[in-house]
Symmetry: C5
Subunit: 346 residues, 5 copies
């Protein structure tokens, strides 16, 4: 495994902006025994605690440091590759199954109204039958809330690791809906603007929105597949009952990807409709140009004719010549107008 400067791709650029990289590292180890949740201070006690029956341990690490990584390696005996993945940024959603635990990367998606853009944050999870390890860069509201709810025993969380995993993923996926709503609202705004006055911003917005939909899809679609694997596969780590709950999250994600795909199709149609409307506007403008310039040129031609310097031009000497010329212009112009109107050009 070589050290490397990782790809600076789209996900990263968006994500990086949102990561409060300066926030302090933090570690919290909680142990649930006999319905009692207490912090664990002695790090070397973890591997022993995990052997005891009816014990559940939650380790949460924010901006993990070298000692944290050592803990993962020595107390939990995780595979070096997963530890590397968990402590590095910028992975796509993934699920690795090992003999005694799952390694999951799941994404929180939020909408940053200040910069009007999507913000994604990875949550790395190691889930065993009687422990969960959550690793993340920067503070993560959804995790802190779930942790607090568990800690204060507000709600009887069921089924050990599977139950907590469900609560966490459910909370994260719930947070997707406002984002999807935000996108839906922007699509609606775009649709309204299409048939109103043109502004180049509509194209910009369509393009930006497509970009964000692609971005969300790139995160949500692999998470759907990942949950599908979790549900289908025979998992010795979770009880069967947890699977029904995971199915529920799966249904939510399917619904979100459905929405995203529908929105993408709508945006494509919107752009097509927009081009068509633009093309029609051009038609209208050229029609106006054509009709007015023909009328004006006809009148100018008449004026030009009576501006010729021929010695013998009978109308010139005529008393009503001037009026005649003006009348001729008006009659010609009106005639053309009527003609174009009769051909439905106006």
């Amino acid at each position: 495994m070589t050290t490397r400067s990782l790809a600076d791709d789209m996900t990263d650029r968006i994500e990086r902006a949102a990561l409060p990289d300066l926030s302090q590292p933090r570690r919290m180890i909680l142990c649930q025994r006999n319905g009692q949740i207490t912090p664990v201070e002695d790090l070397h006690a973890i591997s022993d605690l995990l052997m005891e029956p009816d014990v559940f341990i939650w380790v949460d690490m924010q901006n993990p440091e070298e000692t944290d990584i050592q803990l993962l390696r020595e107390e939990f005996l995780f595979h070096p590759l997963t530890i590397e993945d968990a402590t590095r940024h910028h992975e796509r959603p993934k699920l690795d199954a090992y003999e005694h635990y799952y390694f999951l990367v799941f994404y929180a998606i939020g909408y940053d109204p200040e910069h009007a853009r999507l913000v994604t944050q990875a949550l790395n999870l190691f889930v065993g039958s009687n422990y969960i390890v959550s690793i993340h860069a920067g503070t993560m509201a959804v995790l802190d809330q779930t942790l607090a709810r568990w800690q204060h025993n507000e709600q009887q969380f069921n089924h050990g690791g599977g139950g907590i995993l469900y609560e966490l993923l459910d909370a994260m996926v719930d947070d997707y809906f406002p984002v999807i709503d935000e996108l839906a609202e922007r699509i609606e705004t775009i649709e309204e603007q299409i048939f109103a006055r043109f502004s180049e911003n509509v194209v910009r917005d369509i393009f930006a929105l497509k970009r964000e939909l692609l971005h969300v899809r790139r995160i949500v679609a692999p998470q759907r597949d990942l949950l599908n694997i979790l549900i289908r596969r025979d998992v010795p780590i979770f009880e069967r009952t947890s699977v029904i709950y995971l199915q529920d999250i799966y249904d939510h994600i399917v619904r979100i990807t459905d929405s995203i795909d529908t929105y993408r199709e709508l945006l494509s149609s919107a752009l097509d409709a927009f081009l068509s409307v633009q093309s029609n506007q051009l038609n209208q403008i050229v029609k106006v140009l054509t009709i007015t310039s023909i009328i004006l040129m006809s009148a100018a031609l008449i004026a030009g004719i009576y501006g010729m310097n021929f010695a013998y031009m009978p109308e010139l000497q005529w008393r009503f010549g001037y009026v005649w010329a003006l009348a001729l212009m008006i009659v010609t112009g009106s005639g053309l107008l009527i003609f174009f109107r009769s051909r439905k050009w106006l």
Copy 2:
């Protein structure tokens, strides 16, 4: 499971408008024993009745309240997640298989001519071997009719839960056809308008129709998959004979999705054709502009030449100079006309 404000997505917006949210809650429990259908008053009797042989119970709930939910939980012992799904709005079609029952969400689609838009309404169904529970928000014509037909024994419904499920789904899917007809008719109208005079409304209509087709497809396609699962899977709850009937509904839905996909392709072609026709119109207009302005400018140039003030311009003194100039204009104009016509520009 956190309480949450659910995503306000496309389905919802359309659906919400149609839901008569103010309608009264209603509950009806009917028990069929020995060919006799009687209402059940004592709620706690249900679980006992279900144990008896040759009994079939239909529970219909409109706008369920807390006591209804309690009934589902305590008498039928349904899984909390399905109860939550069934009493909330806005889910996509789904099928959850439990050991003793199926939970289904199926959609009725109607066309609201007043607001010229599609209206969808979810029907939540719990189907067991000797009971069916139907839950819905607002009154639902298709359900009431089927319930009435069953209740008045008009027609011998066969095969218990499977038979009633077939009757219900068949009636719902039958209601899709007029909607599809309505859409087909609108596509036909659009096709006629494309080659007629332009109106921006055609683009609007194409766009709106695409939207509705996407909407219907989003509901119908998962229902097709769902029926496919019902047919393929070995179902201990229904007799094998019911499956043949479900196959019949499946065929209808396949035909509807086929139609929808064909219509979508037709609409895309229509938009392309429309752009092409528009582009041709522009060509025609610009041609007219070009030809007329060239003719008028040529004539104006002649007039301009004879309007010059040179001391020595022989034609000016000529007796027929004026006629000569006019004749020159007419000849030039006619010549250009003939030239353009010979090049097939007119």
Copy 3:
């Protein structure tokens, strides 16, 4: 099963026009025994005949009436759903496998040169090991021919029901080729027209052709899948040897769907090419407009200058002023022409 007014979709509209709805109902029951084919008059004898060894019965019904349906129900014991399907119009191709027979809906496609449109006609078939029942609305040339060939023993038909099914389907699929040829020819005509003079009809034709290709595809593609099922599935009703023959028909249908898909892609390319050619024409026209109007306006400007009424304009008194002005116009015009030609605008 409710009575209903069935969806009036595309297939139907096209089909209905072609159905000779006024033709008489007709029933023909033929029994082959010991190589002898005789008509059967006694309807109740059918179920007995079917029990005998080495007997093959062909029942053909045109516009079936109530007594025919009774026959299907009582003598053949077909499932009520299939009887309903068989006696109703407008189903898509289908294949239902029952224990002792297959129910098939297959389509004949023809080209009606008078109305320049496709005509489809459904043939409903019940195929058992020793009988075939064909049901159709209106006369059906391909069926009558096959029936006649069988009846007059012109040709030794092999393998009982499977053999006759092969002969029927083969004859029907053979009739597809002239239709495909007709479409191919029209595509060729379109391709030639694209690069010739524009006519709005090309767009119309492309659109109409796309419509018809979609229509044929909608019928042929499910028939391909249906044949694939017949070939793959282990069929106790046909002998293994029949399957090789069905494979042959399958190959024909695959080839037809291949052609249809190629034609669809060609049509899309054609429309794109057409738009491009149109766009080029616009460029040409605007170029001509630009160049001529610039030349004419330059000459008119010169004329305008010498039409000014200043007291001191030396050229005006000059003997060759007039010639000078005209020469100036010609030189300017020629100069512009050369300039534009040098920039490859002409």
Copy 4:
């Protein structure tokens, strides 16, 4: 099986032109025994020869006649359907597996530089464990070369039927590469032309190339699937070692289909880019038109103003009036030029 005039589809039209239909029928039967290859004269000896061990027979038929067909039927006992397929033109690539032999239709593709179009030629092959029958219309260079190489023992062909099949298919697929190269070169030419001066030929070329790519794909893609079946399926006719060689051909064909798909995508992009460049050219032309006509019209207006016949126009009497007017025109024109340049219109 009815006699019929087969569909006149795209493949056929291209192929027919290339078929030297007037060439003589020819039959060649070679028998390899103990490394010795000798012609077989007695037709009825074939079925006996095939029974002997260590004998391999190659029968090549060009434009087969009735006696040839009889040979296939009586000595080789091939299925009537395959004989019909093999002696008729215009089938797509196919592979039929029978108990003791394979029937294959494979296509040679060549480029006819004279008519600048693709030429395809079908080779029908019956391959058994100790014989190969090749049937084709017209002479076929690639077959004659392989036959000659085998006949003169230049090279030790391995593995009986499988080995010869490999040599034949390999030689045919090798001939595809120059065709693909030819197409690639034409795409490159097109790409260069897109950004050069427009010529309607680019669109024509793109369209023609798309057509040919579709045509090649239609032949190559089924051949890929067909080889895949040959490789995957457990084939008692070939030794296992042959399969490795077939895999090699399969890899070549996959590469060719990959190239074709890439080229198709490139052509689509090319057309899009072309439309965009065209659209830009129109923009440029209209810009030039706009700017020049505005400048010329401004100057003409000034001339028009000083051409008015008012009795009191002070400038007219001014000594430098004429110069003033001309200067005004030049200043206005220059001003407009500077203005448009400052707005980046030039």
Copy 5:
């Protein structure tokens, strides 16, 4: 197997430019025994060494010559087809499984900033349980580095052939990221340019980028499938532990193909947006043309009218006629401006 001039397709053209074909052939054979790595001089010793336990041999060949090929044939007993593939250029990524070894073709991708284009280089690998043979044309930095790291024992490479394969592929795939970054950066530049001033280069860039994305995809996608096969298949050559490492590379490649697909969609959207912006620019230009020419023509008409030579034109004798005329022009022009502004044309 005929000698042939291989297809000159896209891959080749790009690759060829980058291959330092003149570089010297080179062969290096290293043997690891008891943690000691020593060069092997005696070629015939290889097959004996391979029999010994705990020996690992790495053979690296650059621009292999006849003696190298003989070595592959006689010491390693590789299949002739793979030897041919390995010593020829221009194959696509491939994986052939033989009984005792794998043959792999994997590609290094680099970005040549000098010529601003992608450079690909094939690495052919034979991987057995205790040996690896690497064959390549020209020097290959990534291989030399890995070889050096192994040779100098910098890092304990694990798991024999599987371990070295992982190190090699990992290093090669790591090198893809800067290339993807480069492409991402260029897409970003394009996006910025779309909404800025037009330059034909944007279309060129989009087209070139699409080409390169297609090119990278054509190499990366088969490598993804290839790794998937390596992971899924039961491989007796590698230990199970290696598979987890291959999974890691697989994840990287999936991420890269994801990025490529996203970029391709973005480019398509970009081109659409670009066309829309272009179309809007045309609208703007035509609007300016229309409005200015109408204003100028109106003023010119007024001047033309007062330039007529009628004997009786009251204004001409008027003292303020000239001013009146000019005022009329200004008022008309301003009126038109106000009118167009009121209709939102400006």
